[in-house]
């Protein structure tokens, strides 16, 4: 339906648009602009002398490797979260009865009620030298020595990240599966599709927006995370947020802003690509006939 747009509607749209600009875009624009200024040792602040020093700083001291490894961690975590969340969402939506699905949903939601700090911390008690897993392995005689790499390693970090951010993948997937008419799956079956064909030709294509939304949510959360790395990583383990914190501590603002700008650019790029390829916006459309 297209109707001639009344001027009143654009007037009504103005205040929320301004609010979105002020709250969302303005701070981001400031970050980008300030990343090109220079640090002033006299004032400990920045001055508007155009400079690429912040960006040059990224190339020093292996800072760029932190950005890369953060993106790798974010990709890996998001991917693994999807691998776990998809069958979970499938089970909740298609297999479980009412009671069981409510129970499963509750189990997924509960982590939201504890802080990231406590959640990460509890993994230390599970993965540590005297933790649950090592104790079990020793008791069963599977290992003779506790496995050190379980904790304070990238393995531990990714486990912690998955545990923290799994719900962010599960809920968009559930949302997108709820929008899939179950008779479509019956129809595919009726036409000769087995389970996997049903999954790949009907369910997956129809939940792509949920898959990408889940991926993006987890990805962004991981890029912004620090607790899991600080709690579960090895000596001096880093991630973008930790690095920004380090840099802010010595008042090197242009560098902090430059790092932020790069990360923001990657995330915006992902959103744009995702929207183009997977129709992210369709997750929020009303598709009911």
């Amino acid at each position: 339906m297209t109707r001639p747009r009344l001027p009143i509607s654009s007037m009504l749209m103005t205040p929320p648009l301004l609010a979105i600009l002020a709250l969302g875009l303005a701070p981001l624009a400031i970050v980008v602009i300030w990343s090109f200024w220079s640090w002033d040792p006299l004032t400990y602040w920045i001055k508007p002398d155009l400079s690429l020093a912040g960006y040059a700083g990224i190339l020093e001291a292996g800072r760029w490797t932190v950005i890369v490894s953060t993106l790798v961690k974010a990709f890996a975590t998001a991917f693994l979260c999807l691998l776990i969340a998809y069958p979970t969402a499938y089970a909740i939506h298609f297999l479980a009865g009412r009671r069981l699905s409510i129970l499963l949903l509750a189990l997924i939601t509960i982590p939201f009620f504890t802080s990231y700090l406590i959640r990460s911390f509890s993994w230390r008690l599970v993965l540590g030298r005297t933790g649950v897993i090592n104790t079990l392995l020793l008791d069963l005689g599977i290992t003779q020595e506790p496995l050190d790499w379980l904790l304070f390693s990238n393995f531990a970090v990714v486990v912690g990240l998955i545990a923290s951010y799994l719900p962010f993948a599960t809920f968009p997937l559930l949302l997108s599966m709820r929008r899939v008419d179950p008779t479509l799956l019956a129809a595919a079956q009726d036409l000769g599709a087995g389970f996997w064909k049903c999954l790949t030709t009907v369910l997956l294509p129809l939940t792509l927006s949920g898959i990408f939304a889940g991926f993006l949510f987890v990805f962004v959360m991981v890029v912004g995370s620090s607790t899991e790395v600080q709690m579960l990583g090895g000596a001096g383990a880093s991630i973008v947020s930790v690095m920004i914190n380090d840099v802010m501590r010595v008042a090197n603002y242009p560098l902090a802003f430059a790092i932020s700008t790069i990360v923001l650019a990657v995330i915006f790029g992902l959103v744009l690509i995702g929207n183009r390829l997977f129709g992210l916006a369709s997750l929020f459309e009303d598709r009911s006939p």
Binding site: D181, T183, A187, D190, G192, P205, L206
Partner: protein
């Protein structure tokens, strides 16, 4: 190739609820068979068992005599037109229609030819590239039909396929089903709650109620001899009178209703407490006042129906019967309480179980 279906003492229980209660049906190969009933009667449950989407609690489902209990839906020679059509929204018309064939390994021009033929069959020639989400209701219906028929199924299941269409389209699609049934020769099973659909299409039909089959027969028999009061009402025989006494002599007898005698065909128990007299409205007529063997009833109301008028007439004990008369029939003013004579054509009344 058309396939015959044997439903053999099948029950389907959900906890204490019996969706199907010891149902047995033999459907002949190539038959157009209709399951008729109101919602919750078990007709869709039965369809699911045939389609392979569910499993019976007891009994057997056989195709051409072979038990298919262990055959999953995707391996059965059955295709379904779903109530909501279930067209794949992320595929074009041609992709929808070709879906099952691609799974079978067809591709290229062989696939294309089959898709085109199927679209021709449902009169959607040239619609292949269209977005299914942008079609009209009737067109979507045809796509769903084509998608099922292109598989050349031995059995086609139609699950309330006409619900949601307007009256004109319903008529049109109903004719389409009949035509396609003849063209393909497959066994068609239609599930519906609409008796018009059932009567006009079916070779045979079954009326279901509370998980059981009340009657299974060719359509005409439902009017000649409804199995019981429920079936009679379901097919539109609303006049069901409680007799005071029944006299039986062979196939025929006489029932006494409010002191008046009605000649009946006997198709139910002679016990007046266990039977009713079903009277076909199309076999009643207004008789001249002093006709013998006519019922004498009092007018209790008239309703204008456009092409005809419904005349409601009461017996002395308050039971009523309905008779349709031509809207322009010149019978003068009929006052409420006025007595009229009603004649019965042969075989107008039948005694059936309650």
């Amino acid at each position: 190739m058309a396939i015959s279906i044997q439903i053999d003492h099948v029950s389907r229980e959900y906890g204490p609820v019996k969706a199907l209660d010891d149902v047995s049906i033999d459907i002949k190969a190539g038959e157009f068979f209709t399951l008729l009933g109101s919602s919750g009667c078990g007709k869709s449950s039965l369809l699911k068992l045939i389609g392979g989407f569910d499993r019976q609690t007891s009994g057997r489902v056989c195709f051409d005599g072979k038990d298919v209990g262990d055959l999953p839906a995707n391996q059965r020679p059955v295709n379904t037109v779903f109530q909501n059509l279930a067209l794949f929204p992320h595929m074009s018309v041609a992709q929808n229609v070709g879906y099952g064939l691609r799974l079978k390994g067809l591709s290229g021009s062989r696939l294309q030819v089959k898709i085109d033929d199927a679209l021709d069959l449902v009169e959607l020639t040239g619609f292949g590239a269209r977005d299914v989400n942008l079609l009209s209701g009737g067109q979507r219906q045809r796509v769903a039909l084509a998608r099922a028929l292109v598989m050349e199924p031995g059995i086609l299941l139609l699950d309330e396929p006409l619900t949601g269409l307007d009256e004109r389209l319903r008529q049109q699609m109903r004719d389409e089903f009949g035509r396609l049934h003849k063209r393909t020769g497959a066994t068609f099973i239609l599930v519906t709650h609409n008796q018009d659909e059932a009567l006009s299409l079916s070779d045979r039909m079954a009326v279901m109620h509370k998980g059981r089959i009340e009657q299974m027969d060719v359509p005409a028999r439902f009017f000649e001899t409804p199995a019981n009061a429920f079936v009679a009402r379901f097919v539109g025989i609303d006049t069901l009178l409680h007799p005071q006494a029944v006299l039986v002599s062979g196939n025929h007898g006489a029932a006494t209703i409010a002191g008046q005698t009605v000649q009946v065909r006997i198709a139910g128990p002679a016990d007046p407490a266990a039977s009713v007299v079903a009277i076909r409205p199309d076999r009643l007529f207004l008789a001249p006042p002093n006709t013998d063997a006519a019922l004498r009833l009092c007018v209790s109301g008239t309703t204008f129906r456009g092409l005809h008028r419904d005349l409601r007439l009461a017996f002395g004990d308050g039971q009523t019967l309905m008779i349709a008369i031509d809207a322009d029939m010149d019978i003068g003013e009929l006052a409420i309480g006025q007595e009229v004579a009603i004649g019965l054509k042969p075989d107008a009344a039948v005694l059936i179980s309650r």
